[in-house]
């Protein structure tokens, strides 16, 4: 772009957040070291700077946290729903008060742009606690029978792409329904969960109701397989989801799984092209494409393919990649070196298989983990980049001629989490939405979330729903 359009840097201040050099595990209302004293470091993906050192939970810590949650369950579940509601309302308010601090923290630890943590993550986090707070004293009216009961101790494992939002999705309904929780955040993004522990303290939440165990996959495994856990909630990869589904076989544990996706974003020839292009960008480049419901397969009707692709490439050339704390940044850092390697390797596979790569012309910073917005054309349904979840800013473009072909191609996936439809024709939206095997269908919009709206997948995208009235079922004994 011409220099006349250069922006001056507009960084958000880091001073609003005070990150301690080290953190313990949050068990029974106290921060404590891991039983074996192990720790690990958490980095800022945009600079590789070490932000803090946190305790690494092992099986003994998991056991201690589950015991604390079990002990707290008795009183917490016996509390009138109206009292539990007030705790959740308090938490929602404190999150709002501290949202700027939390947004900066999340951006530092995750690498996503401040624009997204500030305007998407944090408002939604607070909204989830507000929404489920209101359910706590109305469970008899939720449609799951009179006096539905909580399950007990919920073991929850969440990913690194929306650390605090995923925490809210898991903890808010669990507490509203009277369960207690042990939550393990991802190893690359442990900090916002630890700050949330402090919010629980400020809210005066009884000890043991919420326990946070920072650690790796071994801690997550110990948690979901712990015999005294009654409910398992997992968001993450399909491979791990399947392992969890196997591990709970033959037990009474209730399970919900939010797994991978390969969302189809379908653009018909009568779509409003400019809006569709914005929707495509939101669909795959929001959060650097590290979104399970990303619209990572673009299906364009053949007659408008060139027009849409030209407009899309032009738009991608204007995206600003760089310092995530800069308020003008659109594309932040990839969350970890490991994830960057996975994206890079899948993109290389795409090239090797004959798909045509185009990457937006942008300069990548010299430190940190970065990947330029990229799209593949000449993609067929058999290509790896059209089948495997890449979980990065990489879009695969396919074409179609008829609505039937679009539906067939969209449904040709092991996944069934999300889909998009772009057309001005209302009857076509309804007909196509009806035929798509996906849990969330965005028509003439994409990547919209709301606590009142159930979210979850068909097929190998997992089972159960989070959000809305449906999200209560996962935490109630309704069989």
């Amino acid at each position: 772009m011409a220099s006349a359009f250069e922006y001056a840097p507009a960084p958000e201040s880091r001073a609003v957040v005070d990150i301690a050099p080290s953190y313990g595990l949050f068990i029974d209302g106290e921060f404590a070291e891991a039983a074996d004293g192990k720790v690990f470091k958490t980095l800022s993906p945009s600079s590789e700077e070490v932000l803090s050192e946190v305790a690494r939970a092992g099986a003994a810590d998991v056991d201690r946290a589950v015991k604390a949650a079990r002990k707290a369950f008795e009183k917490w579940s016996a509390l009138p729903g109206s009292e539990r509601a007030k705790y959740l309302f308090r938490i929602a308010r404190i999150i709002q008060e501290r949202s700027r601090e939390l947004a900066v923290l999340e951006t530092l630890d995750n690498g996503k742009p401040i624009k997204e943590t500030r305007d998407a993550d944090l408002p939604l986090v607070a909204a989830h606690f507000f929404y489920y707070a209101g359910w706590a004293d109305k469970l008899d009216h939720a449609g799951y029978g009179a006096n539905p009961r909580p399950l007990g101790v919920a073991g929850q494992v969440i990913p690194w792409n929306f650390p605090l939002l995923m925490l809210a999705w898991k903890i808010a309904p669990a507490l509203a329904t009277g369960n207690t929780v042990v939550l393990k955040p991802a190893e690359t993004t442990p900090l916002s969960a630890l700050f949330f522990a402090d919010i629980c303290r400020q809210a005066g939440l009884p000890k043991g109701v919420v326990n946070i165990l920072t650690g790796y996959g071994d801690a997550g495994e110990a948690l979901v397989t712990h015999p005294d856990v009654n409910k398992v909630a997992f968001t993450g990869s399909t491979a791990v989801g399947k392992a969890i589904a196997r591990s709970v076989a033959g037990t009474d544990k209730k399970v919900t799984l939010e797994l991978g996706g390969k969302g189809a974003n379908i653009v018909f020839d009568d779509a409003p092209i400019d809006q569709a292009v914005e929707g495509i960008v939101t669909g795959i480049f929001f959060n650097q494409g590290q979104v399970c419901c990303a619209g990572s397969r673009l299906l364009i009707q053949e007659s408008v393919q060139d027009e849409v692709l030209d407009a899309l490439k032009r738009r991608l050339s204007t995206l600003r990649l760089g310092d995530p704390l800069d308020k003008n940044t659109d594309i932040g850092a990839i969350n970890s070196a490991e994830q960057l390697a996975r994206i890079t390797s899948l993109v290389e596979t795409g090239e090797a298989e004959g798909a045509e790569r185009w990457s937006a012309p942008c300069e990548l910073p010299s430190s940190g983990y970065w990947f330029a917005p990229t799209l593949f054309t000449n993609v067929t349904q058999a290509h790896t980049v059209a089948r495997d979840e890449i979980f990065g800013p990489v879009l695969s473009v396919l074409s179609f001629r008829t609505p039937d072909e679009a539906v067939a191609k969209a449904n040709n996936s092991q996944y069934g989490l999300s889909a998009g439809i772009w057309t001005e024709k209302g009857s076509r939206i309804l007909a196509v939405a009806n035929k798509l095997r996906a849990g969330v269908v965005w028509a003439n919009t994409f990547n919209k979330f709301d606590p009142t709206s159930p979210f979850g997948g068909y097929k190998e995208s997992g089972y159960g729903r989070e959000g809305g009235r449906h999200g209560l079922e996962a935490y109630l004994d309704v069989r």
Partner: protein
Amino acid sequence: MSDNNRLGVFKTYKLYVGGKFPRSESGRVYEVSDSKGQWLANAPQSSRKDARDAVVAARKAFGGWSGATAYNRGQVLYRVAEMLEGRRDQFVREVAASEGLSKSKAAAAVDTAIDRWVWYAGWTDKIGQISGGANPVAGPFFNLSTPEPTGVVAVLAPQKSSFLGLVSVIAPVIATGNTAVVVASADAPLPALSLGEVLATSDVPGGVVNILSGVTAELAAPLAAHQDVNAIDLTGADAALAKELEIAAADNLKRVLRPGPAHADGAADSADWSASPDTHRLTAFLETKTVWHPTGALGAAGSSY
């Protein structure tokens, strides 16, 4: 069943797959006896191949059945009840023989089963209203959640309740638009095989319900592992088999309905099938789809009302 001098006509029991009545492709049969050990009939002993064929038939039928209107599905289910009512005496005899029940107890079970079809027939066009919803999202969007059928459901029918239990697990699966591959009670498969004859004459499209008889574990294993089966109801499996099947089902993340508590003797499902059902067997095989669309900002200037 035969009068004084007349030699009775035995029935050759056959499977019900894809709307047809095949024998097992394996050519195998096994002896089915009553509760006192008296021979009743030779039932087909289905093979893994029969199970796979049944899945193909169920998948083929899924589009049409799930795409039918709820009103239409309700009428088809009600038609099953009509046909059953007409064959009531036959089922009473078969259930009495299969389960060793007195005539009056068998009649009560059959009556309850017929009433259960009627109950589920009435659910087809209501389940969407009670389990879906319009979501009041914070923004200018139309946002609607609706339940949809999961797909092809493998159903392991209860082992002891050969007809009432069977009906109680099939009707909710198909009421919501799924198609079913049913493994009948291993020891008492005859009422299930006769139900196939009723379904074939009840406007139920071929392939919507497919009924197999044989060894439950032998048939359940390929169904639990089948990549084109979307869900499995483990009611007819004992605890050890249920665990094994749930592990296999994880491979493509099938929706799993676990069996209820076992009988004192360890046999599967101690459920009281005569009790009034709730909706959990309907909702267990539903997905929730949420559709978003912008609503625009008409009246944003304050003039809308």
